[in-house]
Every structure is written in C-alpha cells, then in structure tokens.
C-alpha cells in the first residue's frame, strides 16, 4: 500500500509511518498519572489564578478606586487586558477555520492546541468587561432581556454592547467547533481506556464522545458540520476584532477616532495570536516530544505569518502618524506626537520595537528555525501587543482636548495582580487541557500521514486503535 510521495512538499508528520504510533504519542500523557513537572507547572498557574481571584475580589469589595484610574483616564489595564486576550484568541480560529477552508494541511497537527488557546483566551478576555464595571453585579443589564424593570433596554448604539454580542458569538462558535473536533478523538480514547480497564475515565470520554461510532455516516456528517462551522467562524475572525476596535473608533477622543482601526486591529490580533501560538507550541514540542507532529516546517510557517502580520501592524502605525499629520487636525497631531514623545512615550517605543522591529528577525532562516530565539521573540511579541493596546487606550485618554484635565496614569498593585493573574487563569485551563485532553488532532494527523506503513500488529488491533 504505497502511494506517491512528493519530493517537494513538506512532510508534515515526520519520523513515523504508523497510525498506532500517532495514537500512542497523543494518548500516552492522558492515560498516564500526572508527573511532577506537570504538577509543578499546574500548581504554579493555579497559585497565579488565586492571585487573580484575590485581586478581583478586592476590586469588587473596595471599588474601582483600588486601581490607578482617574477622572481623565477611565480605562487602562482593564480594557488593555481585554483587548489583549481577545486578540490572542484570534490565531486559533484562523488556524482551525480559515486554514481549513484554504486546505492548508499543516494546520492539522496544531489546530487542537490553538483552538484551546482561543477558548481560554476568550474566557480571560470575557472576564474584563465584567471586572471593569463599577457595579459588576449588574452585568446582566448588558443583555437585551425582556425584564420587569419598566421599559429599560440596552443601547444598540453602544460599541460595548456590540462587544457583548461579538464576544459571546465568537466564544460559542469556537467552543462548539473545538468540541466537535475532539469527538472522534474522544471515541478513540474511550475505546483505549475501556480496554485498559480505566472505567471511570472511559465513562467520561464515552459521555464526551456522544456515542461516536466511527461509521461512514458519522464521518460524513462530521465533515459537513466542520465545514459549516469553519464557514461560520471565518467571518468572525474578521468581525470580532473589528467590533472590539470600534470601542475606540466610534469614540470622539483623538487617537481613538480613526477609521483605520478595524483592519489594524484584526492584523494585530492575528499577529499577537500567532505570537502566543509560538510560545505555547514550543513548550508543547519540548515537553511532549511532539517534534514529529509540530515540525520545524510548522514553526517556520507560523513565523512567516508573524512577519506578514507584524509588518502590517507596522504599516498601520506609520499610516496613523501620516494621517494624523495629513488630517490637519490639531488634536490628532498632538495626540500622536504625545504618544511617541510624551510622558508615556516609553510605552510607545516598547510597542514599536517589539511589534515592528523584532518580528523582522524571522526573515532569517537561522533565527526562525532556532526555537530558543523564536521563543524569546514570541514573548516580545506578546509584550509588544499588550503595550499596543495600552498605548492606544492610555496615551489617547491622558491628554485629550482640554489641557486642564490632562493627567497621568500609574497602575496599582491590584491592576498588576489582575494582569499577572489573568495568565494564571489562562495557564490553569491550558495545563488542564494539555493533561486531560488530546492536544493533537489524532485523526486529522493520520489523514496527512504521507506513507503509512503496515502496522506490526494484527489487523484487529489496528481497527481498534
């Protein structure tokens, strides 16, 4: 059973020719007992999550005054974190949906992890609109629900309301897509665990697998629904961050009030998402020895996307400056000069160097194939993209129209804890995922195995696996 193997195209799965090998590699960590390394990593994340919970609880107890905001700067870390995490979420959907539609085979081995990243990032993001409210216990009022409070209704003109719809839609579609994609693997896990006699785990996966039977009809429906969901998710990749950007673009504040924001934000989101994908996949490769599935070619492809989106973002930065000058508006001009050379100018230059200069290093093959340097660069990208949102929000607000109201912004320990803590939330989820769910899409990887060899064991075993 041999077919033609292209000499030019990359081999997306390396050093294995056996389906069983793939199943074994992916399922091993799930079936094994948690090891010390995992426990340490998970424990640390959980501690940081506790910091998050503590800082949020303190905020709700004490009031938003616990933060460093003031009458002029009404948003800072809170909405920065929100936009940052929403942005991170974008890479997952792009990989799972857009690349699926474009039939990019290389996505098959990374889509599971990146989708998980999307889900968890959106969960983190979704926290902030609630936390940042003065009275978070009234968060329900954001929803257009018929109520007994007279004629009270939501304001459909408000971009914050659009955010609610955008984020919740995005989250639901991503979650369904992710879950659906895992069902065949759940089926496989159920069967393996049953055979190994791990009854409880098998029962759980049996429930999760929703009676997956691997029949031709199931597979055919699965493929159709995947395509439909991919089609639904694709516009969301563009729409979610466009809508988030309108929080700023529809405002009148110089530095916010610009039409470039939707594409600029989408490019930034994909850029930051891929930065985070790099960070996570490099760890996954190293820890799970998944180099055979997440190959150097994968990492290079990702790096190339990073170059492209990073350059787009850089172009956007420069366009903003040009338009600020070209508009002739004194407000715009001042805001942009102040952004780069004002008292918060350092944040602008952190953003600029991390987002525009650093990714250009990926033009060099040596750098993009060096996982250590790639990892460092990916961290820089994460930092840079966080600062991009900080720059947009804070430098625009702190010196707007009337100089009498100009002020500065200094964060407090509470805000810093919430920012750090949100990573705890993210990684707690992520480590749980990495331990208890299949981190690589087994059946899709099997589909791109170029030259599967006959298994060494019996036919029966093969079918069961």
């Amino acid at each position: 059973m041999s077919h033609h193997e292209s000499p030019i195209r990359q081999q997306w799965v390396q050093n294995t020719d056996y389906y069983t090998q793939i199943t074994e590699d992916v399922c091993r960590p799930i079936e094994a007992k948690p090891n010390l390394k995992w426990l340490a990593a998970f424990g640390l994340s959980f501690l940081v999550l506790c910091l998050f919970v503590g800082a949020v609880a303190w905020t709700i107890w004490e009031g938003i005054g616990a933060w460093g905001l003031n009458k002029t700067v009404g948003w800072a870390f809170d909405i920065t974190n929100f936009v940052f995490w929403v942005g991170i979420g974008h890479a997952g959907t792009l990989i799972s949906a857009v690349l699926l539609l474009f039939r990019q085979a290389w996505r098959n081995s990374i889509n599971r992890a990146t989708e998980a990243m999307t889900i968890f990032a959106v969960i983190c993001a979704g926290m902030f609109p609630i936390i940042h409210m003065g009275r978070p216990w009234l968060g329900l009022w954001f929803l257009p629900m018929p109520n007994t409070r007279g004629s009270l209704w939501v304001n459909f003109n408000s971009p914050l309301l659009w955010d609610v719809f955008a984020i919740s839609t995005y989250f639901s579609v991503s979650l369904v897509f992710w879950y659906l994609g895992m069902m065949p693997d759940f089926g496989a896990l159920r069967d393996r665990l049953r055979k190994k006699g791990q009854k409880i785990a098998a029962k759980i996966f049996a429930t999760l697998a929703f009676g997956w039977d691997g029949s031709m009809r199931t597979w055919s429906r699965y493929e159709i629904i995947t395509l439909i969901l991919a089609g639904l998710a694709t516009p969301l990749v563009l729409s979610v961050h466009s809508i988030v950007s309108m929080d700023f673009a529809t405002a009148v504040i110089p530095g916010w009030h610009t039409t470039i924001f939707p594409p600029y934000f989408v490019a930034g989101a994909i850029f930051s998402g891929f930065g985070m994908v790099q960070t996570l996949l490099i760890i996954q490769r190293a820890v799970y020895k998944h180099e055979n599935y997440i190959t150097m070619d994968h990492m290079e492809s990702i790096a190339k996307i990073v170059i492209a989106t990073g350059s787009l973002v850089g172009l956007a930065y420069m366009t903003e400056f040009f338009i600020a000058w070209y508009s002739g508006s004194i407000w715009e001009r001042y805001t942009f000069v102040n952004r780069a050379f004002g008292p918060l100018g350092w944040s602008y230059w952190i953003m600029f160097s991390c987002n525009v200069i650093t990714p250009q290093l990926f033009w060099f093959r040596k750098i993009r194939t060096n996982m250590f340097i790639t990892f460092i660069i990916s961290i820089f990208i994460n930092i840079g993209m966080w600062f991009e949102r900080f720059v947009i929000i804070v430098t625009s607000l702190h010196r707007d129209f009337l100089p009498s109201s100009w002020s500065m912004y200094t964060p407090t320990w509470v805000e810093a804890s919430i920012l750090i803590g949100s990573f705890g939330l993210f990684f707690t989820f992520y480590f749980l995922f990495a331990k208890y769910l299949p981190t690589i899409n087994m059946f899709e990887v099997k589909a791109i195995l170029k030259n599967p060899k006959q298994p060494k064991h019996t036919m029966e075993e093969t079918v069961n696996n």
């Binding site: 940042h132 003065g134 009022w141 954001f142 129209f401 002020s407």
Partner: protein, 1052 residues
Amino acid sequence: MNSPKYWRGLEELEQKPEFLATMEKEFPTDVPIEDALSNTDEEALSFQTDRRNFLKLLGFGMTAATMAACVETPMKHAVPYVEKPEDIIPGVPNYYASTTDTGIPVVVKTREGRPIKLEGNPDSPLYKGAVDAVGQATLLNVYDVDRLKGPAKGGDDTNWTTIDSEVKAALASSSKVRVVSRSVLSPSTKGVIDEFLGGFADGQHVTYDPVSYSAIAESHEKDFGKKAVPSYSINNANVILGISCDFLGTWMEPALFNKQYAETRDPDSGSMSVHYQIESLLTTTGSNADLRMPVKPSQIGAVLLNLYNKVARTVGQPTIPGVPDFNLAANVLDKIAKDLAANAGKAVVLCGVNDVAMQDLVNGINYMIGAYGNTVDIDRPSYYKQGDDKAMATLAGELSSVDALFFYDANPVYDSPHAAAFKAALANTKLSVSLAYKADETSILCKYTAPDHHYLESWNDAMQVEGHYTLTQPTINPIYETRQAQDSFMQWGGMTGSYSDRIKNTWQSKYTETEGGSFRKFWEETLRKGVFTEEVTTDQPATFVGDIATAANSLKNNNTGDTPELVLYEKVSIRDGKYANNPWLQEMPDPITRATWDNYLLVPVQYATANNLKQNDEVNVTVGGTSLKLGVVVQPGQANNTFGIALGYGRPNGGRCASVIKGSPDVYPWVEVRDGNVRFERAGVEVAKTGGTYEIASIQTFHTLFDPAKQESFGNYYDRTEEIISETSFDAYSKNPDEVNSHRAGSYLNKRRHLITLWESHFKDKSSDRYIRWAMAIDLNKCTGCGACVVSCQAENNVPVVGKEEVMNRREMHWIRIDRYYSGSPQNPNVVFQPMLCQHCDNAPCETVCPVLATIHSHEGLNQMTYNRCVGTRYCANNCPYKVRRFNWFNYVVGDQFTEFNPAHKTNPLGYLVLNPDVTVRFRGVMEKCSFCVQRLQDGKLKAKLRAGTSLNSDGSSVKPVDGEIQTACQQSCPTGAIVFGDLNDPESAVHKLYKENQRIYHALEEVKTLPSVAYMTKVRNRDAEIVNLMKEGYGGLETGEKAMEDNSWLM
C-alpha cells in the same frame, strides 16, 4: 315558657358518674404530658423539671435574653411629626433671610428644620445677592462634628449654672476686664459687650483682625480725622488701580467687590473700566486685570511715592520732595497716573498693605482724583474690619495685669502676632473664658469654654456699611448645649431679658411711625427681607487734612534690591484659617494654583528656573531663624525673588479636617509687627532644597493651552487655544463686534442643519419648541475665578469631599470646575478662567456609548444621568471631550479613608444633615455629573404648573416657568452674574437673547460637533493701543531691560 333543656349526648342526659368526673377536667381525655416530659423513656423529651433544672433553665433564659438585648441595633431617628409644625410641609423647603458670620446677607434654605443651602440675599441693595465661596461654606460649620457640645471648665464638661455662678463670682472681684474679638459687625452685640464692660472699673473691648486692615483706619484718622475704614463703590469707577490688594479674592469683602467690579466690566454696555494691578503674587484680582505689573513688596512704597507725584503733577498739586525716581517697565506708572487723573471722580486706588504711610499716600491720591464721595466714602464707613493693631499690642503688653479675659470669635493664640504673649498669660490669668463655638488654640488654654451658637442657631444683626443693616435669625434648633455668646455676656453682666428681645428693642429705635404700620409689622417685614437701609446724611464731607510729605519719609528708602522677600497671603478658600476645618473649603481648588488641601511655597518662575526648583520639590524655608518644610509650587506671574506662603494652615487644634494634612505648616509666627502695624511682607527669607519631594494635590497640573516648548520643534500644530478660549480687546469688540467669533464656522444654530446625527429626534421634532430647552451662557469676561460656584454646587448636589490623597489621584468630584489657563510670557502671563461643567450636548458623545442607556437626553435638552441604571463602565467619561464626568471610585460615605473629610460620612451623623434631600447620594461604581440642578428645574416647573392650575396650555404646549425664576446653584451664587441660564425656546428669555444677539457667544470645542447647551462668551480685555504698546515694550510688565523667558521647563 321554659326554654327546652339541651343535652350534648346520651352521657350527659344520663348523668353517669364517669361522665361527670370527666366534666370536671379541662380536657375530657388525658393529655399525655407526663409521657412527653417523663424521663423514663429515653427518647421522650426529658423535661421532668426538678428544682435545680428549673433554676438552671431560668438562669440560662435570663442570661440569653440579656445577651440578646446587648446587640446594638442601629437607631433610626426618622420619626414623623406627631404634631406638624404650622409652617413646615415635609418636602417643601422654607427660606429665611439671615446673615453669615462673615457678614454676607443670605437666604437660608431649610428642609424640615435644618438649613441645607445658603444663597445670596437679592434684597440687599449693597450685595444684590452676591455671596462668595467662604460665605457659602459657612453652612457646613453648623454641622461640624468638632463643635463644642457644651460648656466646659478646664477641659471637663460642666453645666451653664456652674459656669455662670463661677464666672460671676470671679468677675465680682475683677476690675480690669478685656473682651477680645474679631471685628464685630453687629451693633447690638457691641452694645451688649459695651454694657457688660461698663460694669467694671477698667473694661475694654479689643478688636483685632488676623489679617489686619488697621493701617487704613489709622491713616484715615490722620488724614480725615475719622478712624474708620471707608466703604468702597468700585461700581462707580472707570479706572481701578489695585496695589497688592486682592479685592476679588480675599481683601475685605470680596463677594461685594466682585459684584461691584462686574458692573463696570460689561463690554456690551458700551463702556468698560480699566483695571490696573500692581502686586507681588499673582492673585485672583491680578489675573483679571487689564494690565498687571509684578513688583516686589519692598517696591510698593516707591511705586506709591512716584505715582503720587505723577498724579499730583497732572492735577497741579504739590509733589513730595526728595522721592527717589522709580518707574515700572515701560513707564507704566505714567500711563496709570494719567488715566487716574483723567477720570476724576471715577477712579479708585485700593491698597492692601497694612502700612500707615502707604495708606496715607493712597488716601492722598484718592483725594486728588476725587475718589472720596464717589468711589471711596469715609463718611459712610464700612465695618468689616475694625481691628486695631495698636490696641492689641497694648493688650499683649498688659496681659499680666488683666483680671478677666474673654475671647469672643477670637483665636489670638493661633492667628495673632502676639500669640506667645497670650499663650504665656493665659495660664496665669484669673479668669479666662472662650466663647468659641468650636475648640480652638485659644479655647483649650482658657479656664472656661462657654460655647456660642453657630450663627445659623442665633439671633443677631449686622451693619456692614453705615446705614446698611441685615438681620440674622435662627434656622435650626441649637444642636448642642450651647448658648449664644451675647446671652452669656448679658447673663454675666447682670442684664435682664434675652438677646433676641434686646435686638428687637434696638430696632424699635429704628422704627418711625412715618413708615406706616405697627412696629410689629415693620419688624416682621424687616426680618422677612433680612435687610434694612437707612439714609446716611453728612453735613459736611470729610476733607483731607493729612501731611503727606512727612508720611512719605518712611517710605523713601524701602527698596531692598534683589534680596528675596516673603509675602504671607490669604488663600481664597482658607483665608485666615478660621474655617480651616471646613472640608468644602479645604477641597476648593485655589483659583490660581489649582491646588487643594495644602499650604506651599509659591516660587516665581525665574527663581525656580535659576535654582532648578520644580513643582513638588520640598524646601526648607528659613525666616528669622526658624525653618519650615514646604512643597514648592512654581508660580508664573510672581515678582522675581518674591516668595509666598498662605496663612491659615497648620492649625494644631483646628479640628480633624484642619489638622489632617501634616505637611502644611502654620506661618503666623512669621507675621511681624512693624511700626505698630501687623505686616505680612518680610525680607530675609532663605530657601533651600531638602532633596525630598512633597506632593501638592493640584487638580490641574498643566498650565497652558499651548505648550510653547513644543512650538519650536513642531510649529503651531498644537495651538488649541482657539477651540477652547475666545478673547479680544474692548477696542476691537466695540468697533467690530461681528468679527469676534467670525472665524468659527457660522453661528451655532445654522450649523445644526447639515448635521448627520444619531439622535435625529433631538433636532427634527417640530413639536419640541413647545417644550422648554434649557441652556446656559457663561461670560468669561465676568468670571473672576472666585470659586463661589464650586462650593455652591457642592452644597446643592451633595458632592462628596474626597481628601488630599484622592485629589492627588486626580479623582476630585466637583461637578463644576474653573479651568485656569495662562498665555504669554511666564513672568507675567495673561490669565483666563473658564468654568467647565457638563455641556449638556445635543450630540452627546456620552449618550451614544453607554451600553445600558444610563445617560440619556431629555426632551428639554438635558443630558440626564440615571444613577440607578449605571453599571459603571466609565465609557461615557472617556468619551467626554470636556472631561466633566465624575466616577464614584469608592463608597465615600463608608470608606475609612474619608472619615476625616467627607461631611456625609457614616461616622458623622451630624454631617448627614447638610445633605440636600432632593438629590441622591451616589453609590460607588456610579457615574455622576452636573445635572443643571435638575431638582430645581423640576421644582420650578411644578410651581409654574401649580400657579397656572394646569400642566398644558390651551395650544398643547407645556406650562413654562417665568424666565429667571429658576436659577441653578452655580448661577445663583455667582457674585458677578457671569452665568445666565434659562429656556432657549423662550424668545424673551435672557439666555435666548444672548444666544441670538450677542456676538461674543461661542462654544468650547465646536469642531467636535457635540452641540453643547452651554455657551461661553468671549473674554474682553480693556487694553487700548497704548496699553498694548506698553506691554510689548515692557515684556508684559517685566522690569525694563529684563528679557522675557524662553525656558519653559517649569511647564511640566
């Protein structure tokens, strides 16, 4: 007929013995009590109670009940009236005319027996409704938690009977008795004190003012034979010259002077006064002047001498010989002298230096230019300041021989230059009594404290200016066991009756039959109006008899060159420190520095640049051997080598709010007595950096609209002045009024037509004209920056006080603020004030972005904030171009960090009483902002409807209040009438006429197209071509030859 006999059953009919036995019992069958309580069965309730158990249970029960009763349940005193007082309708305010203890005639608004707001009394022909920030804030003092709660002896509580008997006993053996007080406005009070003192061999009433005006009275004694402070009528002046005299901020009676000043400054009337100011620090007054010249305090004498000679030469009077020649930059004194002389009878010179020789010169100049009888009136003196420095010095010298000392409204241990003498003497004085209503530095050293009522609890009268009387009447029951000071004096002096009767009796003499009606009618009418005026007739106007040439001798060698000098000045809010415990005043930003809560060293820009001093640097200031640590505020416009520090801070026993800021020292010890007068300027000051920092809580950290430092590198890209401020000169405005704002894109109303808006209904609804459309116009020309509106708004709208820490965090809550901008050279900048409040935009950016519709537009054009609906996203505040929205960062009523400041704090049940019940106290997490005093609008509309008996007119339009009937709090308290408010849809309304007809109308940030309902009116400076040339020549008031500064590093 017998009624039939009924039986219940056969058993009863048969009357069986078993049945009869059961009939005896209450329950025919056995109740198994024993079973239930028996302890034979383990599972039954083992409650066969023996004696021991019974006692145990009884003990437990009683203890439990006692313990349960110990739980502190909050007491709520919301008790309805059992018998409703005749004149109180719950929910409807009552108004009473009264007078503040600062002497301002006011109308007190009370709700259910508690005063909640003061407003100027428009019936006073003198004040015409003017009130200042301090006057407004005196309201809060009645609810001060630090007030004395009853009489005390040696710090221990006692009762009035004890005090009275002991004081009387001590007085019986006293012969030398002194009553020390500040200026007493009340003729009846003076009568009481005089009568009280008359009972002793050597009784004397010593009056002093912490910030003394004694030299004015003394000079008038020398020059006119009448020891009094004249009254001033600035409103009659065409030329006003202020010399170190902050008459719009702190000098004498700023509320009154603001009113008078504004009357002369209306460019629409066709004429406008010229205001020159020569001063050392940049004051509120100086910042309003048309031409301001900074000079060092030691140069004032030379300025006056030369000005006198120049005026004398012009009017042909003898000059003072041997005067060293001195002139201001570009020979400005020549121009001033010329203008003063040319406006004889229509000019005034005001001087705030407490030096007799200088005041002699001022009197001489005023006399030469015919000011007496026109703008200055010594025949009709004023009584605001009657302090006598020399009498006070005499008293300080003879304290050891005084038998009895009474302090009535006086705190010399804190605020007199003789503090040390008083402090030392009080320990040994036989009888010392303080009648302060609040513990202060003097009262804690006195043997007895016999606390006075607050003025809102008192009866009194006042005579501010000869012939202008006002009454004070109680508007609240005395809160504590206090007694009015006058009653105390009457008690101790053996006078009969009560003080209120005595006032009535005093006033009986003013009543003449010719006025018609009975005395009772006269009295009630006067009390209702609160004001009574008497014609003052003088047979012969006072003539000048002074000897100027001799007086001038002491001034000829005063100029000290370049050595640093210090000015101890009063802040507009804290003044001399009497009300330092008032949180509204502590948090009121200084009009010039915009700083709150703190005392600081004002450093001139030139000095700061040369010595590398920055804002918030900490310095050691040394004067006369003592050093104090202070934070630095770099102040443009201040004379070089001159420093300023405010009085009134650092009170050791001022109360919780006065002493909460530890870094603000008391500088009264640096006030010195020179030539018999208390002087606030002194030489010999050293300033040294400590290397540390001391942060000043300033609500505006950026000084200018246009940062000239950036101009060099980037050109004029950021000059946003035009979009925010509009100013012009009187010449240009009177010649071409149309051109003032012609560069703006057409008139505001026309601009609306081609708008694309999300809120079509705000503009397109044809029926909307039938409704009211609220709008406001603020005249930048009239606004002097005094800050009365800020305090008034705070009182009206329950705006919390947040304290220094939160102001430093830039989270002050004021709904209206007065932005202050500089332009021109930092050595002598032009200043403009811009009151900024919610602009109630028709195209409101805040309304669009609120996700829950918590801020919406009313059909009357109001931008309404629904606190209940607000979830606190702060998006509206971010999107507000004017940054007028205020977020409740904390729960200010509960948070521990606000205990000391916020009047309405849970720890201070008294402070709650000042809250306006018509306005919600906002919870944390909620946005708030100016509502155009919507509670007043509703009230006014309801009144109009009640009057009309219907809510809709016959044509379906709504019944509207009369124009001017409704005033917002800021408008009401504005002493200059800079704020006009009303219905824009009413073609007869004042605001409509301004919007339609006045060319000075413009809107802030028109380019953003928010379509505000607040308009500003161009500031007009009365600078003729001559003044403009002088300013160019003299670099805006700098010494000739001195270069204008290029360095702008002080800006940040």
